[in-house]
Symmetry: D2
Subunit: 307 residues, 4 copies
């Protein structure tokens, strides 16, 4: 039931009595609260479209509020965070656009969002300088250390790379070459043969970012390599104690993106006694809704600063 | 961005800047507001699982608040509304239940919700008396008139049949025989051969419930016969001026459940200049979220009573 | 592995060793074979978009080959079968059409298929005469008996209504008023007040079309009222012994369209020891593939005529 | 319509007249034929679950038949190809397994497929030796060169790594550390500090594997990093001339996995005049069906060897 001036927290509480995915969303929000109260190390993973969407500033806020300890994401997310930090804007458009016309206008579509070619040009202009600075310090860079250096240079409170760097939250990106960032790494290596991005060392870094003895929690948005990398690295350290998976995929396909928290238990990726919930639905809605509830509860209990 | 004591209304406002389905949800909420402010006749349709879920009382509230003028639904929704009006409870369970074990315990599963056989027995006990009373008045009943009589007998503020009957909102159910209700109609007709449920007359009733000259709006939850019936009856009267479709289906299958508001324009089911939005995602989340925003806005403008 | 001149039967056999939905499709094909060999009464259900697609002639063939004993479908399927029987054609178009332009051209879109307004006009011209003929025989018609009369007049080997009528296969349509057919029933009743479509009597007909003692099988394409009606009527007679569900829906929504064969066991809709398989995927591909395998096997064993 | 001894080729031809995804599948098969006849460089991408499924040998066959020029995939696919090359078997199970029980038995679930812990142990035993051999030749390895060395040692006709190595088809894996393979790279680097996997150099390799002047085609199975990497590297060289996307994802989420061929045109990833088709449905069914048609046609025209 609705009432005047309904709060987001009460709204999610009521979802817990509705059914289907609303119940699972409330359960997931409860798991996030529990994960924080237990002192677990929290891994947040997201795909690049989550940063194309307006959730980027929210990710940055979560890092600032100490909700998150480790981030795993993809190259597109990093590129777009950098573009936005330099003032580029994305636009809300339509899923049913004329894509050939958009191309001719220099506009790239991601679902119902638009990114202009100018934003990529801006990214290009900045990234060269960054890589030069890093290389002059040393030739061999694990990915997360490179991203930390870049984050420190951004100076935008809504940038997750900036907030992560400031708050000692490592950002892992196991497929770093897959995107415009990769293209610029390649161009740079053409003229700096000794330049190495050391992905193997970064695997050590993510494995050592947690250990067998600490509790571990995962907030997993969408699927793909970000999802798998976080839960696989936790598997090596005994599996996740808490996990929420937010996805749009149907498990019928057997894909990683759609693999449920139940399936993860067969692998030991999630401990069999862990609190684990899968929520099906668009992450641009389910994630902020789940987190708004969790943040209110944690704030009520004095476990995070208010905003 | 989150802030302490975030309201549901502000939350949805912010979704309008995120992207993907969150943007569509905000757009849909705006269309609901516009539809009401234009004075449109509002058709609400839902599938039976929406009543299995805890949304039943919310539907009743929307009728009471005069948000809705016509309801179209399926037999299961009617049966379950009646069971609940007599105090039966449904239970929140799990999608991954042992279904053979549930069967042995007399428990029926709908997704992650459970309905017991006792609830059906209670329904059976009541429906016989209802039909006897109706038949003694006349032998031939259009569906919506039968449902009105039943609604008047329920006396439960959270029953949508009760609220609809009290507020002169017709409830249409074009596939009335498809469920336990149909089974009892059949048993009753075995001993009362003259008893007729006149579905053709009820088609006249839904067609005459609106007309060419009035603005018409549709809030369409899920798909199936409820969805098609509402938009088809509006097509006969010139098409919908406003429409929001909330669904989990992928349009790739060509099914009615997944047919978008865009496709409806090709049929004239939605006027080509209408405000029409499709939101993909679990309706148990997207519908209450969309409506909570719309209700706050309408309440702020004095267009509905507060609660 | 592929080899030159691969047969459809061998192809499906090999799918049984692949995984994910290909395995389920092979299992489903095996269940269809078993269902026929056991002598089960076979219920086939389909949504109207299956008839919009080119599967109509295949349904007619299955009836002719005695694969199917009872059909349950929706109004759209019946309308389109009649249009096509009178020579109307549908066209293959695109999912990404300009729907407003199509409307202006008098073209209606169903996914990537197009139906012209002329086809509806042709339907209208014919249906009036049909109803007059039927009414002159008697005023009160259960749906399946009305459809049988219409089927007998069609004379098109590719019409499922025609083949069903010729082969004593009843066609049930519990939501008969939901479509252009309903509109014409309504117009006819305006001038023939005694005309009654007796849906309650037709519920008796579907219940009596099988019984507790016979084995029962369901081939369920898509969801909605067609699906529910067939399995509910079998539930009354002790549940299905064999069932294959072919669907595109994700069970996460708790809808009837997505409800799995496992969920049906909790209701007794499927006996707990029955052979039951759910295949996720586009039915326009999975259904003909599954049936082609089953038909070859049944033909090899002399259980159906060759074609 | 079905006929006795229906061939797979005729089956797919007939799908072209059905509608919804069956039409798109036939269109996709035609694009594959056209792509080969034009002499395009063909990029095949697949996610790891495609190798968990029984499609591995089919991928190997396609390489042997010269259908494919470049492969892009993920770490899981590589690990599982190696396990299978050493005789490990995977098992067909059920989507609704007891995952905690499976874990206790040392069985890992991927949808309805099972992989035992022994298979991972076998992989571990082999990979150490491989890495030692490679390191003794040189310390710095682009991924595709490392995979080529490994492929040459496998000696299993059904291994795609083996066939790729033998037929000079590079296998790219931009997220190589994300899996058990990554874990062993990490262990090896702990004792061999100079060991470097050079992902940046491999980006150069994939960019140089095609060029602006040659026609380029993509056969894209599922989504994720494999999909993006292939189409992004082709974008740098002017975009794909031909593309087929086979996916289960709904574009509503804005994810890479669900991004359609239309969206890709806005980016220039696919040339605006290219032949591009998206097919929604389970790839374990749609891919072998599409390819069987294409292989028959190409074989009829003498463009591939028969098998």
């Amino acid at each position: 039931l609705w009432n005047k001036n309904l709060s987001c927290k009460d709204f999610v509480s009521r979802l817990g009595r509705v059914g289907f995915q609303s119940v699972e969303l409330k359960r997931a929000a409860d798991v996030v609260v529990k994960m924080k109260k237990s002192g677990a190390k929290v891994f947040l993973t997201f795909t690049s479209n989550m940063v194309t969407s307006g959730l980027r500033g929210f990710f940055a806020q979560l890092v600032r509020l100490k909700l998150v300890d480790v981030i795993v994401t993809t190259t597109g997310a990093i590129e777009e965070d950098i573009m936005r930090a330099f003032g580029e804007k994305f636009f809300v458009g339509s899923f049913r656009s004329d894509d050939v016309a958009l191309y001719e206008q220099g506009v790239n579509r991601v679902g119902n969002l638009f990114i202009s070619n100018e934003s990529y040009a801006k990214f290009e202009a900045k990234i060269k300088g960054f890589l030069g600075d890093c290389f002059s310090a040393k030739p061999r860079w694990p990915v997360s250390e490179l991203l930390r250096e870049i984050g420190l240079k951004l100076d935008d409170v809504d940038s997750f790379l900036f907030q992560a760097a400031k708050n000692d939250v490592p950002v892992f990106c196991p497929g770093i070459t897959d995107g415009a960032f990769g293209f610029h790494l390649f161009l740079f290596q053409q003229t700096h043969k000794d330049f190495v991005v050391d992905v193997v060392k970064d695997f050590a870094n993510i494995v050592f970012s947690s250990n067998q003895d600490m509790k571990k929690g995962g907030i997993i948005l969408g699927g793909g390599i970000s999802k798998h990398h976080a839960i696989f690295s936790c598997l090596i350290n005994g599996g996740l104690d808490f996990a929420v998976y937010l996805t749009t995929s149907n498990p019928a396909s057997g894909s990683m993106s759609s693999a449920t928290t139940s399936e993860a238990k067969s692998w030991g990726k999630i401990r069999d006694d862990s609190d684990a919930v899968t929520v099906f639905g668009d992450v641009s809605i389910t994630f902020p809704l789940m987190m708004s509830f969790a943040l209110e509860v944690l704030s009520d209990e004095g476990l995070i600063e208010d905003e």
